[in-house]
Symmetry: C2
Subunit: 391 residues, 2 copies
Amino acid sequence: MENFVFYSPTYFVFGKDEESKAGKYVRRFGASKVLIHYGGGSVVRSGLLARVKASLENEGIEFVELGGVKPNPRSGLVYTGIDLCRKEKVDFVLAVGGGSTIDSAKAIAAGVVYEGDFWDYFQGKVITKALPIGTILTISAAGSEGSPDAVITNENGMYKRGATGEALRPAFSVLNPALTQTLSPYQIACGITDIMAHLFERYFTTTQEVEVTDRMIEGLLLAMIHEAPRVIKDTNNYQALANIMWAGMMAHNNSCGVGRAQDWASHDIEHELSAIYDCAHGAGLAVVFPAWMTYNMKHDINRFAQLAVRVWGCQMDFAQPENTAKAGIAALKQFLQSIGMPTDFAGLGAKEEDIEKMAHTACYGDGRKGTIGGFASLSKNDLVAIYRLML
Amino acid sequence: MENFVFYSPTYFVFGKDEESKAGKYVRRFGASKVLIHYGGGSVVRSGLLARVKASLENEGIEFVELGGVKPNPRSGLVYTGIDLCRKEKVDFVLAVGGGSTIDSAKAIAAGVVYEGDFWDYFQGKVITKALPIGTILTISAAGSEGSPDAVITNENGMYKRGATGEALRPAFSVLNPALTQTLSPYQIACGITDIMAHLFERYFTTTQEVEVTDRMIEGLLLAMIHEAPRVIKDTNNYQALANIMWAGMMAHNNSCGVGRAQDWASHDIEHELSAIYDCAHGAGLAVVFPAWMTYNMKHDINRFAQLAVRVWGCQMDFAQPENTAKAGIAALKQFLQSIGMPTDFAGLGAKEEDIEKMAHTACYGDGRKGTIGGFASLSKNDLVAIYRLML
């Protein structure tokens, strides 16, 4: 294990109806004027937004609103939010929604108290200060409710980039599994895929002797594999949704990623897809991951075999461990198909002729130096080959 | 899963030499005068205490010292510490040691800012305020470096009781696995047993459909089973110690115990043993747990079988699952013996004639109502039977 700092001071409130106490939690963290940030119609139609506003009003907390966050959230709305918060002297940003809304809220919260262009943070500058953030989560997926990260799509060129900094950890997050009961099986499956991807990105490491985090990651993956078919069959299954919701937070608050090199190339590879085709991030990851694994398993066959045996229940082929590694990848692909995820370009509406451009942008766009990835360093040519495995 | 709040705001710094920056971490949390609290000679002899003091001096932070914490820490020293802190106007308590020292520091930190007798907290009053606490951990075991709990032995009757409250979560904890390289195999094995016990106490639940926390607990147990023989063979094995150290924190900060009923009867049963015989808490737990499991497996055979199959690699006996459950308990006992732990009364120096008294005190002592335990409610007669299984 490598040295690390782990600091996850978010106050997590888990359970039914907790969103109705949003005002109380906002008050706990000293807010006087709140920006309520949200996406489209569902939080309005479901009455969730009204419940949250009523809760703030009951506590006598002022607020302004900014809706309109899209999946793969855009830089334009972040600038709008920053201007609004400054004009209205907002001192707390409350995200009501999923990862896109939370990430947009985080970018606003950081941008408000930064003198420069908030995009600086998405080009590598570490975020050290931001307004406090609260979240009311409506889909288990991104893990942003417990993470110090945010991902935004720059509309000036349509590419996604991430930013990080401890200041982005939410002050509180309300996790009510019942709020996710209205999602479609497809949306839930996308979320599950995103959660599993966060675990894989941590699992594929070059750091040796990390049994404790290996086992935690495997445990969370096994829980997802158990719960996914239950909830796809019945999206109303509160207990399955509850298990998935906690797994989604644990998968990305980094308690199982500490002390080990991680690999985020698959997320980068996917970001090109969702930036161009505006596909769901989870659906993109379902296509990317088996391809990334197939291409990279040569770098550590035993690690892939370990995953196959411990998580997918494959038999170890001691004579030829790569057969086991391959069986694990096949099991992942079959699992993703079973929950309704696409596993090739056609399923995303992606086009072969864009491969060259995506590989180039992933490696060289916006200041990058020509390679991505920690488990295996991938050049543009490698990425072309990986994208081609998705055809 | 049941509703819950999870709030673990401790700043964990993990890695070599981090204790030399203790002054910096103390400053981060705004201390002006520190009580350095520690146990016996080892932190002095090893030079650890001197390094910590030098670090505080370098930062210009004043401090006073109180050593002398014993294993199974006593109420008397807590009163001394409270008086000292009040007299010296201490505003931060820094524990340098293991669980006993940290728990003693927590009791002092809570007692200083409480008008009544600190023992009130150990009779069920929830702790809502305390001086901030820092820890520099020297043994992986109690998990107190990340938990909101403390256990103290009342010298007026020699019985152990626990207290809890979010105010007891340390502000920071320095986890340097290298500090545990000087421990004996026996001390390390006691720590491993304590960590595993914290996982078992959470695992044996009456809450249904808690796959995500089940799998996390199982994963941490599997990691301990992997690392234990490596470190018993070579107590200098930094990587094994590092994995155990992070597992010890994760086992008890409750991220894998949320949303499920827990059972702390085994800890209560053990506390009577270590209060009377002053045995190591981990050694006591090694004796208690197989007995508690054997007596209580009837309440949920399938849960015991699940543990046996998933953690101990037992074959499932589908015709008679209790055979699998028993095989799992046998495997645990064998594992504990293999790392040098006692598994009966003789190994602890405990005496059959004290059983009646211990069972009575565990059930009725200091305000208790006659039963303990959450997985199975245990009366005095049950406890007598369980203690007898340890003979």
